[in-house]
Symmetry: C2
Subunit: 419 residues, 2 copies
């Protein structure tokens, strides 16, 4: 029943069912995603993917924006490239109960639809977005951590289903068609940990967005699939995980909102290293305050949860992530290289995954206990998107996305803030 339960709930969801905190978080999630996608296009993975794909197409434009660029594309390619761009900086949002970055696949698929099947009102967009995010996060909670621990990239493996639910709802599929869409999306499982640190990591997200979108389009046209693709004996949950708890998790749909557990990153990298960075920033600020020369630092010792080392320990990084501090240039800066040689990180099971000492950071900035303020989110958007479309237009774009609930045509926002 899980597939049917999810589909029926998603179709029944109305904007008026959303609580104010859920709507507020949806708006924040969407503009935070948009800032990442606009800013992210300036890095190679998104533009290389765009170039590779446009070189094999019989046309060189379409009717859907590739955010942060001057390109137009067909709906499927735009979903793929926007999905890649939105995650290339690792600067997006994170669900507190799983390592899912909920907005990426869902918003990447949905926004593409708003420029093809328009006008889509802001309220319809927000409702579909919430349905998609709840779907992927409930699915994630139902198989986490077993599914993640074996090596799946849980954002993209749940993301194709989330995107299918969101797009399917926006397109007004029937119950049976939405079940088909969910099941078609469920057989497309994208993303493994081995890609972390390569261009393929953001590809997972783009492909998940595109997979969900494709599934909804096929189902809309009558393409058939299982009616129980998520829960069947040889369907999604049992194939990709040694444990599943779909029935229990889906029974809380519309009661426990997963979106209310969303958090935003203050640094462009995986959440798991934020506490350590936050600690370093605080030490740096104290050092500057006390007029210490950073060149005199002899040794940096950090103790973190072992998972931090598993995911990030790379004493000689060759490639970066994004904004200024994460560029290749900064990674190779000689002062930084020298200091890096004196950094020692030790794993300590007694420390939770999101803490870091010296300055002991119990709740890193951007955690659910210590969230970014609206002003910080705005600053983040303007700095990041502004680096691509200019500060003034970034300010206008921020205003437009933060007022998304009041617009009658979401697609017009993307069109207004192209590069």
């Amino acid at each position: 029943m899980a597939t049917k339960t999810l589909a029926a709930w998603a179709l029944a969801l109305q904007f008026s069912n959303l609580t104010q905190p859920v709507t507020d978080m949806a708006v924040k999630s969407i503009y935070n995603w948009a800032g990442c996608a606009i800013g992210g296009y300036s890095l190679p993975p998104a533009s290389v993917a765009y170039e590779a794909l446009s070189s094999v197409l019989p046309y060189h434009s379409g009717n859907v924006s590739v955010l942060g660029s001057r390109a137009w594309m067909d709906i499927q390619t735009a979903a793929l490239v926007n999905g890649i761009a939105s995650h290339v900086d690792d600067y997006d949002d994170t669900h507190a109960d799983t390592p899912i970055h909920p907005s990426r696949p869902v918003a990447s698929a949905l926004l593409a639809v708003t420029e093809w099947n328009f006008p889509v009102s802001g309220q319809d967009f927000l409702t579909a977005f919430v349905a998609g995010v709840e779907a992927e996060c409930k699915l994630g909670v139902a198989v986490y951590p077993e599914h993640y621990d074996v090596g799946w990239h849980i954002t993209s493996t749940t993301g194709s289903v989330g995107a299918a639910v969101a797009v399917g709802k926006l397109l007004g599929l029937s119950l049976e068609h939405l079940q088909h869409a969910i099941s078609i999306a469920a057989v497309q499982v994208n993303g493994m940990h081995e890609s972390f640190g390569t261009d393929t990591k953001p590809f997972h997200v783009g492909r998940a967005a595109q997979s969900g979108l494709l599934s909804a389009l096929l189902a809309q046209n009558g393409y058939g699939g299982s009616l129980q693709g998520l829960e069947a004996e040889r369907g999604w949950a049992h194939v990709v995980s040694t444990r599943e708890n779909l029935t229990a998790e889906f029974s809380t749909l519309g009661e426990t909102w997963e979106l209310s557990k969303n958090t935003f990153k203050p640094f462009p990298c995986d959440r798991i290293i934020h506490a350590a960075i936050d600690g370093c920033v605080q030490i740096h600020d104290q050092a500057v305050h006390n007029r210490l020369d950073l060149g005199t630092i002899k040794n940096v010792t950090a103790r973190t949860n072992p998972m931090v080392l598993f995911l990030t320990d790379n004493p000689e990084p060759r490639r970066k992530a994004s904004p200024a501090q994460f560029t290749d240039e900064m990674v190779r800066n000689t002062t930084v290289v020298k200091l890096r040689a004196n950094v020692h990180i030790t794993a300590d099971e007694g420390i939770s995954e999101h803490e870091a000492f010296y300055v002991h950071i119990e709740h890193a900035l951007g955690s659910i206990e210590n969230p970014l303020s609206t002003q910080q989110l705005k600053d983040k958007f303007i700095e990041h998107a502004g680096s691509v479309i200019g500060k003034q237009r970034a300010e206008k774009a921020f205003r437009a996305f933060s007022q998304i609930a009041n617009t009658s045509d979401v697609g017009s926002i993307s069109r207004k803030f192209r590069k």
Copy 2:
């Protein structure tokens, strides 16, 4: 080393390295695949997918053929739709050591490339095809049956890698780029058993073809990935299977040819039920020979391996597979329905998966011990493809595909035999 070993072997492979039996089997596999794709387009899944996709594209033509139709498409959509069409009848080829249908994803991706990046000679096409098939089958053997038993559709889960190897070789990627292509393909795992019996089963194949093609295109343009996506601790083999034997299997590349274990189906359905059908056909022939009225049959009892029942037991089929005998009409024919009520199948562990009694069929027609003759393969092609493009053109198409080794432009064959 597995990813590098595979990539290096594939790039080094020359047409002159192929033994005559391997070349012969490659040619048969390709024309058998082409007949299935041309004939398969007439069934809903392929044409519904085409309609769904073309409705969202900003153009309505491309430069690549959709086999069995009058449509032109971009390279990626053609690979998807041709892949769906080639498997919709379940009438294709099967690797004897696994349930992999090797040609589907590999040929669907490769043929699309020959109309975009032409001319591709028949010898280059055959060499790339063999590289792709060896890649997917070795990969399959390395994780079979554990990977299959959990519910993955092994044709498509290995097929995206096979397609990436084939296309990457045809495009002349460097060693490192082909490793990237393999790793990008490896994170796109498509297909689960729960879809069997629905339109989504052939979708697995089309999406795998498209995934492999996309991976090779991205890598060609410099899109990065892991260098060890297959064997890494959190890469393909460990994530999708509880057992893997990649190193041993890849050490036999170019020595034990998996393609030489390919078989062709005489009936449009899974190989596992062929012995039972073969038995029924023989009983039918005896009955006709003895002038028995088929309406007088009171009871049909079959004993088969339990796996046959798991995969096919459906006393009230609602949808079909393909050619005449498998149409919806035939499924609902009242004589057939009446007889069906008197069919009893019992599971018997003592009977192997490919045997059936009364007439005891030890090796079903089309098995590796009792293969279809070249004449039977030709008849199959002409009946199937002829139902779409006419008998005369099907005969010409058969001649062209069976002479593929001598052509200087493979893409011209598909263009010649459109609907």
